[in-house]
Amino acid sequence: MIKAVEFLDYICNELDYRFFAGIPCGELSLLYNKMKSDFMHYVPVTSEEVALGLSSGVWLSGFKSGILLHINNIYDILKCYDLFNEVYKVPVLLIVGYGSDDDLKIMTKFKIAYKVMGDDYQKQLKVITNKLEKQHVPCAIMVKEGELK
């Protein structure tokens, strides 16, 4: 299990992703509780599409950004992902919460690159953010229910 505080600290202070938007996701609730406005910025939004647009705009203005969402809502960003982020090459980090390994099968249907978060989360985050920044496409880190404490 990974401490939510350490996870956020690594993403914000080591990888420099400080702007996030999203719709609440039960699996990521510990992350919301540990967020602090002195080192990061979180915007609760009305839909996943708005979250993707907001984060993409922030990226274009020179800040690294990401969105937090539940795996079942990933369908809501696919249209914008295909028509905008992939064509315009605007990357954002997706932090996706999921309940069981069956849920994870959804991801195999899409072309979004992802890593499932484990104990060596720092290495996984580094790999995924390197890919994101080099290839300029959104990539996802998958966080299973109960993985954070």
């Binding site: 009305t46 839909s47 705009g57 020179g62 914008c80 090459k89």
Partner: protein
């Protein structure tokens, strides 16, 4: 006045550091006639436009204008409260009202059936202006640059325009990647050109 003519006056009134984002195929073609470095076009991606503009406004102190037709405004309505509550002083939502879909000029939108669209925007938290009368005669239109210079966001700017688009206009020639590089470079180059370097993030 047609939308192309209104766009001409507004775009010429913008500061050299302003960012402008255009949503919709015909809107992009029309705006491309007055193309500048700070312009960003979304001809085929409509769902993301206003939220993308809000993201840019959050990350920079430059003024960000997003231009939509009333059909796109209705489509992206969930972004309006988001823009309003952001309290960003540098975002301006410009809505051209023709009452028809810009891609199908014979099909009406529900915009003109709404009881008080400006009231809705005001209640959400926008400052609301209607510049329609400024574009109705040549004397008042000369005041548009002064008005645009003094505005503060979050602002919803309504302009009623005559129906019809010029279908002979050329497509925007830039690829998505070219446009992103251009806008990212433009924002980076113009950061700190205003009185305060502080961004909203």
């Amino acid at each position: 006045m047609k939308r192309l003519a209104c766009l001409k006056y507004i775009l010429k009134s913008l500061r050299s550091s302003d960012v402008a984002l255009f949503v919709g195929d015909y809107m992009c073609k029309e705006a491309y006639q007055y193309d500048k470095d700070g312009f960003f076009y979304l001809p085929s991606v409509s769902g993301i436009g206003p939220s993308l503009a809000l993201g840019m406004a959050l990350g920079t102190d430059q003024r960000v204008f997003v231009f939509v037709n009333d059909d796109e405004f209705l489509k992206n309505f969930s972004t309006a409260p988001q823009i309003a509550v952001s309290k960003c002083k540098n975002i301006f939502y410009v809505i051209f009202v023709s009452g028809f879909y810009q891609s199908h000029n014979s099909v009406v939108t529900i915009f003109n059936e709404l009881k008080a669209p400006k009231g809705i925007m005001f209640n959400l938290g926008f400052s609301v202006f209607d510049y329609t009368h400024y574009f109705k005669n040549k004397f008042f239109v000369s005041e548009v640059p002064l008005l645009i210079e003094g505005i503060k966001g979050p602002l919803a700017l309504f302009i009623s325009v005559d129906l019809g688009v010029n279908k002979k206009l050329v497509d925007v020639p830039y690829s998505g990647v070219e446009m992103c590089d251009r806008i990212a470079g433009f924002i980076k180059d113009n950061k700190g050109t205003h009185s305060s370097e502080k961004t909203n993030i």
